[in-house]
Amino acid sequence: MDLYSQNIIDHYKNPRNRGRLKDGNLAHNEANYSCGDKLSVDLKVENEVIKVFKFTGGGCAISQAAMSILGESIKNKSIDEILELNFSNIKKMLGVPISERRLKCALLGLMTIQNALLKKQGKEMKKWTDYIEE
């Protein structure tokens, strides 16, 4: 199956929840320095639940579409639920085969959200190896 499905290209060209959040209470950004993909997220978290999510960034279709697709699914989810997500959840959401060379592209969005939440909790943030060893 094609990595660049209609759905991926649609999310890349028309990202959902793109923009900044003025009244957010949590912000974080991550980059994949090996290729230059960047993501910044703004979140509004109330009672340990994600209420509003916005993102900005730049990079390949996979990194941007994965953020857009993940972003749609996290609203009204608890911090704990989001911290439990892993690579296989992302693969399912994207619905396309992810080769090893595109692993980080697919994971950058999850890493950005999870590290935003881990930062809020004062916990150690995740590194690439934490995802790849899963």
Binding site: L3, Y4, Y12, K13, C35, G59, C60, A61, I62, C105
Partner: protein
């Protein structure tokens, strides 16, 4: 020509059932059978350690290793073989200069002039010296035609305290071949030491270090159809003699005592440890190949450059990052595609058998200066064909359409 291409076995393979179109020669070039045979022969028949071996096998290995050094010296017209230091590649060669020459000769406030088109390997060693010693770095910008701004370069070289000009001979992104001679002449008149990063240039132009008059010149074997892990630092003997040894270990010493050591003569002083003997032998074979076929290589690359430029200009959704002139240009083309990120294009085309590089190509300062996040790069060699260029543009157009 066909005959020459056939000497590169990897080029006849298929990827996903598609013929391999190898357009990543600026990253690493493919190897002709003669190079593969030379490496195989060395390990099959002659493998043993070099120098100080009182046996026929060691003698033969030493002979082959030193013959390779002679070939390199001849290839770039060095005055003598001891001016050729074998390293692991361009990166190590430049680091050797930064550490062994730079640490001793540069002090706080001294200036090193480089260009914006440098590869990270001719940026970072100087940034490290900036941190360690406090040197200042001046960067020659580009003019509007993607060539180095020679006027600005002159102004920078005319400042006080400029001690080194370290400059690329050919940009691995823009494909522009630097007009080295006036810059090197200007530097020499001012007593500024010069280093040429010839990593890209070496595969496209005949280099004569004596004519250029540079003090140092660095290149890698693998971009010249040789193996990876072997490279060269050419250094003028007068400079080498004044430089302290770099890494310590076997081979680089004459005598070692419990509390002291004396260094070996040139070039061994700068080759600590067992060298990459098979790599040097392979590089020697690559140089034989290039010397024998240089005129064909040059002619073919010129034809491919002209054809590629003609084709790329017919597509309005592609923006070439580099000059339009086919003269003084290597067949290295970086560009952007409207609506398609370079990584996506490289991935999709790769699945179709077309091998390209996407990103900043280890030239992040250059990309930043051009306000580009990333580019897609097609870098050709003489063994590529116009049919491959046609196929590439056909597939690239399909990628563009997919994202519309």
């Amino acid at each position: 020509m066909n005959n020459l291409r056939q000497q590169f076995p990897i080029l006849s393979q298929k990827i996903n059932g598609q013929p391999l179109v190898y357009f990543d020669n600026a990253a690493t070039a493919q190897k002709p059978q003669a190079v593969l045979d030379a490496i195989n022969d060395f390990y099959t028949k002659y493998n043993s350690n070099v120098h100080r071996s009182f046996n026929p096998l060691g003698e033969k290995a030493t002979q082959l290793y030193e013959e390779a050094r002679q070939k390199v010296a001849q290839f770039i017209n060095a005055k003598s073989a001891p001016e050729i230091i074998f390293t692991s590649g361009t990166t190590e060669s430049i680091n050797l200069v930064a550490q062994a020459w730079g640490q001793r000769n540069l002090k706080k406030g001294d200036r090193v002039v480089i260009s914006i088109a440098e590869h990270h390997s001719n940026f970072v060693p100087w940034l490290q010296l900036k941190e360690e010693v406090g040197i200042e770095i001046d960067v020659i910008p580009l003019s509007n035609d993607y060539k180095l701004d020679i006027k600005k370069a002159r102004t920078l070289l005319q400042q006080n305290n400029v001690k080194l000009l370290a400059i690329t001979g050919c940009s691995n992104v823009l494909g522009e071949i630097t007009n080295l001679q006036p810059l090197l002449d200007e530097a020499r008149e001012r007593g500024i030491v010069t280093l040429v990063d010839a990593a890209q240039l070496i595969a496209h132009e005949k280099i004569d270090v004596q004519k250029l008059g540079c003090d140092f010149l660095a290149f890698s074997g693998h971009k010249l159809f040789g193996p990876t892990g072997i490279g060269v630092l050419y250094a003028r003997k007068e400079l080498l003699e004044q430089m302290p040894a770099w890494q310590g270990g076997g081979e680089m010493i004459q005598e070692v005592h419990q509390d002291s050591f004396t260094v070996n003569e040139l070039p061994h002083r700068f080759e600590a440890g067992t060298p990459n003997i098979a790599g040097a032998v392979g590089l020697g074979a690559a140089i034989d190949f290039v010397m024998e076929n240089f005129d064909i290589i040059k002619k073919r690359e010129q034809e491919l450059t002209e054809y590629f430029l003609e084709k790329i200009n017919q597509l309005d959704f592609i923006k070439l990052v580099g000059g339009q002139e086919s003269k003084n240009r290597a067949p290295v083309f970086s560009f952007t595609i409207d609506g398609v990120h370079p990584h996506d294009a490289a991935d999709i085309l790769g699945e179709r058998g077309i091998i390209l590089r996407a990103g900043h190509h280890c030239a992040q300062p250059l990309h930043e200066s051009l306000s580009l996040e990333a580019t897609l790069r097609a870098s050709l060699s003489f063994y590529n064909t116009t049919e491959e260029i046609d196929k590439f543009f056909k597939e690239l157009t399909l990628v563009y359409k997919k994202f519309q």
